[in-house]
Symmetry: C2
Subunit: 340 residues, 2 copies
């Protein structure tokens, strides 16, 4: 198999803000694997929080040799897993291999994996902003989406106010993501109020590894999901001590194959499962969509936050991000648009 990669800059439709910072663009790495006349594609969305960058992901892919059997997924995955870090790059290779296998067999990846095509409705992410601005975005999402995910962690004492403002502007189910920005005391003050406002669950209120995690799990009136605490299968048992559910992302797990393993192990541990994403094109989002049906909640809106999606094919149908029915990941590069 021949493998190559390049860095691609994705432009957001508007500035995106979470507790850790703001951005107008994001860099991803596109991976191509050629074999037996077919090409598999995958996308890496490196996570700065874990010291990954487009440059480090690119370097990882460029040091990768895959051998000659795209179906030896367990073997290839184990070899990649032995190399430290660069989970996003691993996920791109995993996605490209699955895309390739699906194309070689003429099957969409979700069928190759024996899964259903449709998962649960995606949430629509509302970035961190003033309460009124967030309420305005929530109102605008009505009709197109069936769940809202609010980024919290403003550090200004207004987080509950944000949820209250959105609640008054929208009847959609609400989820909140604090991105590690609260202390135990802040969480215990905010969560009962969020429960009264009908929030479904709270994602990563405390810092990853915070020793107060198990206590918050016991005392929280809302289910706690952990994201920054949960990367691969090896983290799941500890997550069960500090949370009611886990947020799986392909960019953390290293790809679909590990994500599937994690979803099953989470069931055995009694954990809920959410599938999240990064700011990604439809190429990355399609990989998530292939395994979304194994999850209770999904947040797969990364491509919808872009100014334009360079890899169209995933369809938003009644709030569900539906993967294509064509072989592999089923997405293809958009024709380049002439700039006038």
């Amino acid at each position: 198999m021949d493998i190559r990669a390049r860095v691609v800059t994705l432009e957001l439709a508007e500035r995106f803000t979470i507790a850790r910072g703001s951005t107008d663009t994001t860099e991803v790495v596109h991976v191509e694997i050629d074999h037996a006349g077919e090409r598999g594609n995958g996308e890496a969305a490196p996570i700065e929080r874990y010291d990954e960058s487009a440059a480090s992901a690119l370097a990882f892919v460029e040091r990768t040799e895959l051998g000659d059997d795209p179906f030896s997924l367990e073997d290839l995955g184990e070899r990649l897993a032995k190399r430290p870090g660069e989970q996003a790059a691993k996920a791109a290779i995993d996605a490209a291999l699955h895309d390739l296998c699906g194309k070689l067999l003429g099957l969409p990846v979700w069928r190759l994996l024996g899964l259903r095509r449709a998962g649960p409705p995606t949430s629509w992410t509302i970035g961190l902003a003033d309460p009124d601005a967030m309420a305005g975005k929530a109102a605008a999402a009505q009709g197109r989406f069936r769940r809202l995910k609010l980024k919290l962690g403003g550090g200004d004492g207004l987080d509950v106010e944000r949820v209250r403002a959105v609640r008054s502007a929208s009847k959609l189910p609400l989820q909140v993501d604090v991105n590690e920005w609260w202390s135990l005391e802040e969480a215990l003050e905010a969560l009962p109020q969020l429960a009264e406002l009908g929030v479904q669950y709270c994602e990563q209120p405390l810092r990853a590894g915070d020793p107060d995690g198990p206590e918050l799990r016991r005392r929280s009136p809302l289910p706690i999901y952990v994201d920054e605490d949960c990367h691969t299968l090896a983290d799941l048992a500890a997550c069960a001590e500090r949370a009611h559910g886990v947020t799986i992302k392909l960019a953390k797990s290293g790809g679909m194959r590990e994500a599937v393993r994690m979803a099953h192990a989470a069931r055995a541990l009694g954990l809920g499962v959410m599938l999240g994403c990064m700011l990604e094109s439809g190429l990355g989002i399609s990989a998530g969509c292939q395994v979304a049906s194994l999850c209770d909640h999904v947040d797969l809106d990364g491509n919808l936050l872009l100014a334009h999606d360079p890899w169209p094919g995933v369809q938003l149908v009644d709030g569900v991000q539906l993967p294509p029915a064509s072989p592999g990941l089923g997405v293809h590069p958009a024709p380049r648009v002439a700039l006038d």
Copy 2:
């Protein structure tokens, strides 16, 4: 898809004895699923311990409608799982569907699942008998097998003597299976002696659900594996309280798909994984072989205990039960031998 089934009697090479009883023959159910010009085959080995019989498995299969998509494995599996009991029949349907999908795609099932072809060496099972007789069988296994599994639970105070006799007749790694026949006190007396004799692990010393399980786990000098305690993914968290490893069998899990889920969840729980079998033909054993590479230990010798295997194809190579490299499960019915 068209599905049909029939009862088949398998004749053993010699009488087989475990703690619960003896047998000279065993009844299995063979399932055929036809679709798009291909036929998938699978075998059910019903377990009397769980109130299953060939007749009850046959009746279960005869009440099954599968629809038109053999690749919708998750969906079909969930529908089967909702019907109570008859795990062996479910495993036969799961195997026949995988065989069919592999044939439709031209891929062996292990490749379709992205797995390696070879798992660990199979153990060779020595049925419960007098110490000298067991030692004789152990000596005869030399050269052909790389591990021995001794059936214990004689109820005659001679179990340690059995292991000592075998140990003096063979240098192969030893595993023991008590099939629920010891009390906590008997286990705590026997296990230190078995540890001194170099036994690797002890399978199901106590009755399933025995409240002494967690205490034995704490005090045992040998790893405890549970079999009768462990059926499906839902049992794994409780098994982690009472054992160091689990014995997965397709006839308990309801098939390969659940077995794969269980193997991954076991890793997340820090449990060792053994894959066992029943008295089965090569058709049933091939299904186990497809997923054996996910396991630490395998006992897939069921077809080797038969007078003749009606579904040849699995090869014993250097102690490993190797699945065929041909599409699906890769085994085919042997020509009927004329009786003279």
